[in-house]
């Protein structure tokens, strides 16, 4: 039963002030959520490594659950294994994903995320930390069979906008023992551009997000709150969810 907040690390060029703000926010938000998920260079824009941010968090907070995304698009398998090895004992889980194409980094391999999870499980990493894969909000179940066969601990979803979407995934995947972590985009003016970009229709829950979040949490047992441009709004909602 976990309420996780998603954090995008700053761009690599970020100065110390930006990093300081980030860690202040992490410290603050950690009091109202169970976990933090750190993304890995979203949209292919190079950002500070989530593992480095996680290490810094662990210096002061041993309790908060930490998960990280790990892009496979621009990495060799040996590099991935190295990062995962280094992550053991620091993060609780890793979301293995293909990642968006980058304008600056060329794709290094033809690795796909399910193959990587299979390989990491074969090497025993799945016993040392939780390995996750991602699925669309309305997955075609037959077409995600390779991801299912890879035996991750569970699946992070893309942003969901209805209870039915989550019900569908939990009904199919939970009986097989998978955890489902539905991603919810906080509806707020500041996040409206993200919603537009992701083509998310939040009209059904815009005015009762708290209730929607509770319903999704009741169904899945987990939720991931994403609020890329509205930290204050996210803090308020998480505070209410925590009570």
């Amino acid at each position: 039963m976990t309420i996780t907040y998603e954090i995008n690390p700053p761009k690599i060029s970020a100065d110390q002030n930006i990093l300081n703000t980030l860690f202040e926010r992490i410290e603050s938000i950690s009091t109202v959520c169970d976990g933090i998920h750190l993304t890995d260079s979203v949209l292919g824009i190079p950002r500070v490594s989530p593992l480095n941010i996680a290490k810094k968090i662990r210096e002061t907070n041993q309790k908060i659950k930490l998960t990280c995304s790990l892009r496979v698009r621009d990495k060799e398998l040996s590099t991935i294994e190295g990062i995962v090895k280094e992550s053991v004992g620091i993060v609780d889980g890793i979301l293995i994903l293909m990642g968006d194409k980058s304008n600056t980094n060329n794709d290094k391999t033809n690795l796909v995320s399910s193959q990587v999870v299979t390989s990491l499980n074969d090497k025993g990493f799945g016993e040392k930390l939780e390995l996750f894969l991602s699925i669309p909000a309305t997955p075609n179940f037959t077409k995600i069979q390779k991801k299912i066969n890879a035996k991750p601990k569970g699946f992070f979803t893309q942003v969901v906008s209805s209870k039915a979407m989550v019900q569908r995934m939990t009904d199919y995947l939970k009986p097989s023992g998978f955890r489902i972590i539905p991603c919810l985009l906080l509806p707020s003016e500041k996040n409206s551009k993200s919603a537009e970009f992701l083509k998310i229709d939040w009209s059904d829950y815009k005015n009762n997000f708290l209730e929607f979040a509770h319903q999704i949490h009741d169904l899945a047992g987990d939720i991931l709150i994403s609020s890329p441009n509205d930290f204050k709004g996210a803090h308020e909602i998480l505070s209410k969810l925590a009570t």
Binding site: P136, A137, T138, P139, N140, F141, T142, K143, Q145, S161, A164, Q167, R168, D171, Y172, K199, D201
Partner: protein, 309 residues
């Protein structure tokens, strides 16, 4: 007992998906085998009407890409689903069609006499595709309706007794020009010697039911996962056939037939339809094959258990 049917595209098995990706030698025999399995499943469930599972159709519009004036362009998402259709771009103002586009993509030899076919209704068709030849959406819609009528006439000649008109855009879009929907449907249904049922899914049509009841079709089909049964029950269907989309094609959970029978009986008692049907709420392609098979069987049980009207 009431009547029943499924409509739209069925799921390919994992083996068939893999075969289509690799274009294996046994691809055609796999298509044939799975088509036969799905048709047998519908017959075994005693469905009132049997449909081709459309396994070779990548989307419901794809056969129309063979029109001389249609050019397949980009892939577009099917509403909010993680499935896609190929947008067709229509050139010119006439759609040459000998009425064989849909029929030639169905396996007629496997279908029994009680056969049904699904076709997109013109408003949805026009809303999802583009035209270079028409200045207005209205003209494009009407021209598509004329082309679809030729297709439907051909299907009726081949013994199709039920034509399922798929109108998800009517449900999904907030703004719907019902005058245009009606004009286009009139072209399709005027004097047609087959039943026509308009299916609305991917959106709640609670506020549109009055307008839907005025449309020139034999009946209406509702997805009761998005349009609450309580909304449908407010209306009389004494002049219309009513299809309750009781089987949820979006979810793998298998319906409990007793509960569904009770719900269908309640809806029918309130709406008093001219004829009553049960169906899937939309294409079964959104669940894996094994679940689709189970759902077909449950659909048959519901139809057999529901009270006649």
């Amino acid at each position: 007992m009431i009547s029943s049917y499924t409509f739209g595209i069925y799921p390919r098995s994992e083996e068939l998906i893999e075969a289509t990706r690799k274009n294996t030698e046994n691809l055609n025999s796999l298509f044939q085998k799975e088509t036969e399995e799905y048709i047998s499943a519908q017959k075994n469930a005693n469905l009132g009407f049997v449909s081709d599972p459309l396994l070779k159709w990548d989307d419901i519009f794809r056969p129309f890409s063979n029109l001389e004036t249609a050019t397949p362009t980009a892939l577009n998402r099917i509403y909010e689903m993680n499935t896609f259709y190929r947008v067709l771009s229509f050139d010119g103002q006439t759609f040459t069609d000998d009425g064989n586009l849909v029929q030639s993509n169905l396996d007629l030899s496997l279908l029994p006499k009680n056969r049904a076919a699904a076709i997109p209704e013109p408003f949805t068709f026009a809303e999802r595709h583009t035209s270079k030849g028409f200045k207005t959406k209205e003209d494009f819609t009407i021209s598509l309706a004329k082309m679809l009528r030729v297709e439907i006439d051909s299907l009726v000649e081949s013994g199709f007794e039920l034509i399922q008109l798929l109108g998800p855009s009517i449900a999904y879009n907030n703004e719907v020009d019902f005058g245009l929907v009606s004009d286009a449907l009139k072209i399709i249904t005027d004097g047609l010697k087959a039943k026509t049922i308009l299916h609305t899914h991917f959106g709640d049509v609670s506020k549109k039911i009055e307008s839907l009841l005025d449309l020139p079709v034999s009946g209406l089909g509702f997805d009761i996962t998005t349009t609450p049964a309580s909304s449908i029950e407010k209306h009389s269907f004494s002049d219309k056939l009513l299809t309750v989309g009781i089987i949820n094609s979006f979810n793998t959970a298998i319906e409990k037939s007793e509960e569904c029978i009770k719900q269908v009986d309640e809806i029918n008692a309130e709406t008093k339809p001219k004829e009553s049907y049960v169906s899937t709420n939309f294409d079964l392609e959104y669940v894996p094959k094994e679940f689709a098979m189970n759902k077909i069987s449950v659909l048959g049980e519901i139809a057999r258990g529901a009270k006649d009207v």
